[in-house]
Symmetry: C2
Subunit: 110 residues, 2 copies
């Protein structure tokens, strides 16, 4: 195998995971969906203050493509779309917990 096998390849599980949660707001979206499952788009926008519609939509599409969130569009007017964590998304949230503890202990409360 080459030192850099192919562009975009991951050398270990950690940087593979980092690609999935690398967006500026993604962990906040995951956290929000963990706290409140089956969130609507506008609800998420309120739960993640400061994010724009465009970026929220983009991140949700990426998370969906990565199998982290499930998107369900109900055929109604006005439109209603609900987002929820998949099984993989819940596992990811659990794997993120120790990192949250570390951040609180070593970065926050200074």
């Amino acid at each position: 195998m080459a030192t850099v096998p192919r562009p975009g390849a991951h050398v270990c599980g950690i940087d593979a995971a980092m690609d999935v949660i690398g967006g500026k707001w993604k962990v906040l979206i995951l956290w929000a969906l963990g706290e409140r499952p089956h969130c609507r788009f506008g609800e998420l926008r309120r739960l993640v203050p400061g994010i724009t519609e465009k970026v929220l939509a983009a991140h949700l599409r990426e998370l969906e493509a990565d199998g982290i969130v499930h998107r369900e569009a109900h055929q109604e007017v006005p439109p209603r779309v609900e987002y929820a964590l998949t099984e993989a998304g819940r596992h990811l949230n659990a794997a993120l917990a120790p990192l949250g503890v570390w951040g609180r202990d070593h970065v926050l409360n200074r």
Copy 2:
């Protein structure tokens, strides 16, 4: 309190940690330093294939500022500088482990 208290503030430990490990190569640097403590600059560059000197130096300075790595310059010719994880850095690596497992299980081997 405002919805976004002040620019750059963190709302939870996870995104605080994400700021620390957010660089493209940082987790690989941490992993290398975990495997091989007391690494020299050129050694690290070889252990993280593809990274440029500029980016490696910049990331090391940021990690040092965040208290993750310790830099020790020996006054010799030719120059010798050694990098090592701090206690916080070792704890961070440990907190990253579950994320690595998740990445292997859900992103790699497809």
